[in-house]
Symmetry: C2
Subunit: 210 residues, 2 copies
DNA sequence: GCAAGAAATTTCAGGCTCTGCAATCTTTTA
DNA sequence: TAAAAGATTGCAGAGCCTGAAATTTCTTGC
């Protein structure tokens, strides 16, 4: 049976077998991204991707449940984000804690600048994928919201979901903006700016003084 | 050729032909929703839905590009939302204007309470659909953001996208909350409360005084 | 009322996605 | 090195979705 490789406790090196699996997965991700960037989502079949990596298409589906998932890759899980949340200083508000966790994420993404710019380029021409950016999709959002609620100590009237959904949306916007600027500015900086605006209540930006 | 029926200027009644088309579309929407609520997304095929309405499955695809789209129905277009935006009083901030437009939306949804509660129930067990709730998906979000930017009078450093994305996310959360409360509270009220929180900068809610 | 003409539906063929299952090949481990 | 565990593969099949051509249904002008 093929099972997702659990990173274990970062110690214990994986062994040849698991290393190969990681390699194959990375190769599939890479090929999917490259091909789709070239030819568009509809112009690439799963068979194309599998062939580029020299495995059967059946094997592709052993690694990813769908073509889209290969393009999205193996994003930071909501579990990881939740951990960061609970690790954040207790004094911070939920919004601040989320901002911090996502700032870390930004720094991580920045270290893989080219891959992410390419991915965002693909997302641009396939907006349906965008919603799965970071802790992809509503399920992860729920999990993260639960962590926020717990951090806040229970009783929730929907605030946890709200602040979580809003934060993730804001993060997405920051990423798109980063992409639009061709990865020039610091993503973490953009995230910070975005969260400042959130914390300020999203007032209209002051028009530049003539 | 089958073309989406343009509502025209509300005058000029549609004529039998177009009325039938509307009927078929509504019937497909309804059947899709009902069946999927009963058996789950995977438990219903397009053929099932078409059969329930007594048309061919090819005809189904003349009305909806995918099974999911039938479930989502025919939501308020981002064009309509954009209109509301430009119609909003000039003095309002972007966030306030969006809040107003979405409040209207809430009232509209409230008038179709049962249908929407059923739809949200389906969304709950199929979170992948959730992202398309209201002005579904990233494309509509872009259009709406453009309207926001224009309203604000041009120069945009990403604020328009941010406030738009955040507002839509907030609206989604309000809807889910409304569903969770079984449609009891006023949706418009929940939307108002949500936008108040946004405008206040999402401060942690004060713990109840013991 | 009736004959074009327009429009919607249907049938058909076909490609692609994704899944379960059984066979095969490879790696690990004893 | 043999047995066990695990990964890959081929195969069959269901389901989604599309284009094109044929058919049926509606509309319109006479």
């Amino acid at each position: 049976m093929l099972v997702v490789v659990t990173p274990v406790e970062s110690s214990e090196k994986p062994g040849r077998r698991d290393r190969k699996k990681l390699e194959t997965r990375a190769a599939l991700e890479h090929a999917a991204l490259r091909l789709v960037a070239e030819r568009g989502l509809a112009g690439v079949t799963v068979e194309d991707i599998a062939e580029a990596v020299d495995v059967s298409s059946r094997t592709f589906f052993n690694y990813f449940p769908s073509k889209e998932d290969a393009i999205i890759g193996t994003p930071t899980s909501e579990v990881e984000l939740s951990k960061r949340l609970t690790a954040a200083p207790a004094g911070l508000s939920a919004l601040q804690a989320l901002g911090l966790a996502l700032r870390e994420e930004a720094e991580l993404i920045q270290t893989q600048r080219d891959k992410w710019l390419l991915r965002l380029k693909v997302f641009e021409s396939n907006p349906s994928l965008l919603s799965r950016l970071v802790a992809g999709g509503a399920e992860a959002e729920r999990g993260l919201a639960a962590a926020v609620a717990e951090r806040a100590g229970g009783a929730d009237d929907g605030f946890a979901h709200l602040v979580t959904a809003v934060s993730l949306a804001a993060f997405r916007v920051a990423m798109v903006r980063w992409y639009a600027a061709d990865g020039g500015p610091s993503l973490a900086g953009l995230v910070d700016q975005t969260f400042s605006r959130l914390a300020a209540g999203l007032p209209d930006p002051a028009p530049l003084p003539s």
